[in-house]
């Protein structure tokens, strides 16, 4: 009887919804050191394998192979760290978390938006670990500090776009973490048929036509030209500004398309 006089709570706006949801995922990552460790180790291991196992066999113009390789492996690495999101999303859906959140007077877009923010922080963490390793094995930025920082930013942004891809795929895999796990392999062809590990002009014509224009190549070229300057621009056939702009546009485009699919999916009732 006394409960009747209590005012109904107002409901949360977009910003407070975003921060509450992102905080949940970030706390989860911070308190599950395995996640932080495994995802960082993956990037570091790739860096070492490609540096020392394949390093001698690949011709990379006037660039040293380590300078050629690092932007590629780092960019491909952020695609793989997005796979964590697909699994996490499917787990959350299976445990009824989204039912709880959707029954609250919050901004429903933020259910996924907050998750993507947190996962992007995780992506940045993996990239940081990979980058530090890169400097240890001889990688150097041959332009300037700010261009290097911009390269980092472009790769994180590109990673965020793929977090949206995996969030959408995770939702579509119907609350099944095993199925979502399998989705990680989707990034294999994308990363290998790109300029990440070998120059595209060494590929057969039909593959080269695809590889040259697909988004991973664009993002890799952006990171490479931003950190290596002229020799990389000569190899990639475009300026750093050109590739950076394209990479940002691709990232936005991918985010909008897959974010749209994911948000429509979560709002459906």
């Amino acid at each position: 009887m006394t409960a009747a006089v209590v005012q109904a709570p107002p409901g949360a706006g977009v910003l407070s919804s975003l921060s509450a949801v992102a905080k949940r995922s970030l706390l989860k990552y911070r308190r599950t050191p395995q996640v932080l460790f495994v995802s960082a180790v993956q990037g570091v291991a790739f860096m070492l394998i490609f540096r020392y196992a394949f390093g001698g066999a690949i011709e990379s113009g006037t660039l040293s192979y380590v300078d050629y390789l690092v932007p590629g492996v780092a960019t491909a690495g952020v695609l793989f760290s997005g796979g964590v999101s697909a699994v996490g999303i499917a787990e959350d859906a299976g445990q009824g978390l989204y039912d709880r959140l959707k029954s609250l007077p919050m901004a429903h877009t933020a259910i996924l938006g907050g998750r993507v923010l947190a996962d992007t922080v995780l992506v940045a963490w993996c990239l940081l670990a990979a980058t530090l390793t890169a400097f240890l094995i001889g990688f150097r930025v041959h332009t300037n500090f700010f261009a290097g920082l911009a390269a980092f930013g472009v790769v994180v942004l590109f990673g965020m776009a793929f977090v949206w891809v995996f969030v959408a795929l995770g939702l579509l895999s119907a609350a099944n973490p095993q199925a979502a796990q399998g989705l990680g392999f989707l990034v294999l062809p994308l990363s290998f048929a790109s300029s990440a590990y070998v120059p595209v002009h060494t590929m057969p014509d039909w593959l080269r036509a695809i590889a040259e224009h697909q988004p991973v190549t664009v993002a890799v070229n952006a990171a490479r030209t931003l950190t290596q300057g002229a020799p990389a621009e000569a190899l990639a056939g475009g300026t750093a500004g050109h590739f950076t702009l394209l990479a940002v546009l691709w990232s936005i485009g991918i985010s909008v398309v897959f974010g749209g699919i994911a948000v429509a999916r979560i709002r459906k009732r």
């Binding site: 409901g11 509450a20 706390l27 959140l101």
Partner: protein, 323 residues
């Protein structure tokens, strides 16, 4: 007064499956309503519709007078949902979980903290509040999940099978928590497949079968509807089963039910206590070896059986028919 929940002819189909087939129900303020029915009866679908998680295909659905189809966001300010899973985050403490939900209800930092404290107290979780939820027992998780649904001081609490999967002790603990909430004046809609749970907690039981309410009333009314008291005789040996059935047959209404395996003979009777005395006398005269004799009031299980033709929660019965 405006009903807390008012559903008129609510329908929902999922492809070929009709989950809700014109469900009607009215829950008055101050009432705990239980939807009782077997798996697949449509209980969860209805709760999800009330919680604005899905939109009915047709029919009217209002929560505290607000249209759940047209104005879901306003409904969400009035409800608290605890689903079939404990949707709490293991890597956060109990307090952090409640705090997050409070923030999502739009409370500011200070009000959110106060709400979390209040709920921890309300559910007797103070001593566990600062422990990570992944160290909680199943019963404790469920209790915290229930707490999360209370953070927004809801007008109506929606509990979907709140005790499914809990051990008997945790179930009884959760029942007492739920009963305390009811005493504090929280209105509730809960679903269950356990007859005793509905009996224990609800003022109004709606029996749901194939997407519609087939009977509704207080537990007492429903039991009265199942009709008669039953005299149950447990005989000493298998040979006495037939004899007991023969002796009891003229005293009751209809045929006695005799089960040789359990050595149980039962018969529905009109005026229970008189027939019980007569049964004792007649069995003694005929020297039937009786181990135990009792008068049993009808159970909701029998009501259920009578109304739906199936038992509520007996998965082992279903297994018998499959190869």
């Amino acid at each position: 007064m405006t009903p807390t929940i008012e559903a008129v002819g609510v329908r929902k189909r999922f492809g070929e499956v009709t989950a809700l087939d014109g469900l009607d129900i009215v829950a008055e303020p101050g009432q705990v309503v239980a939807l009782l029915g077997p798996n697949g009866a449509g209980k969860t679908t209805f709760v999800r519709a009330v919680a604005t998680l899905l939109r009915p295909d047709s029919g009217a659905l209002r929560v505290a007078g607000v249209d759940a189809v047209a104005d879901p966001r306003r409904v969400r300010r009035l409800i608290g949902l605890a689903g079939q899973f404990a949707a709490v985050e293991g890597a956060m403490t109990g307090r952090e979980n409640l705090d997050m939900v409070a923030r999502l209800f739009g409370l500011d930092r200070r009000a959110a903290r106060a709400a979390a404290d209040r709920v921890l107290r309300q559910l007797g979780l103070e001593e566990h509040g600062d422990r990570l939820v992944r160290t909680y027992s199943g019963g404790l998780r469920r209790r915290l999940d229930l707490g999360a649904s209370l953070v927004g001081t809801p007008r109506v609490l929606l509990l979907d099978e709140p005790t499914t999967g809990l051990d008997p002790r945790s179930r009884i603990e959760l029942w007492s928590v739920i009963r305390e909430l009811v005493e504090q004046g929280t209105d509730m809609l809960l679903t269950t497949q356990y007859l005793n749970e509905a009996d224990e907690l609800a003022d109004l039981i709606a029996i749901v079968d194939r997407g519609r309410v087939v009977a509704a009333g207080s537990p007492r009314e429903l039991k009265a509807r199942a009709g008669r008291d039953v005299v149950e005789v447990h005989v000493h040996d298998r040979e006495s089963v037939a004899a007991a059935a023969r002796v009891l047959a003229p005293l009751g209404v209809g045929e006695p039910r005799a089960d040789a395996a359990t050595r149980l003979v039962s018969i529905a009777v009109d005026s229970g206590s008189e027939r019980l005395l007569e049964s004792v006398r007649a069995l003694a005269e005929q020297e039937v070896a009786v181990e135990d004799i009792a008068l049993r009031r009808p159970t909701l299980d029998e009501v259920f059986l009578a109304l739906t033709g199936t038992s509520a929660a007996r998965p082992e019965d279903e297994k018998v028919t499959s190869p």
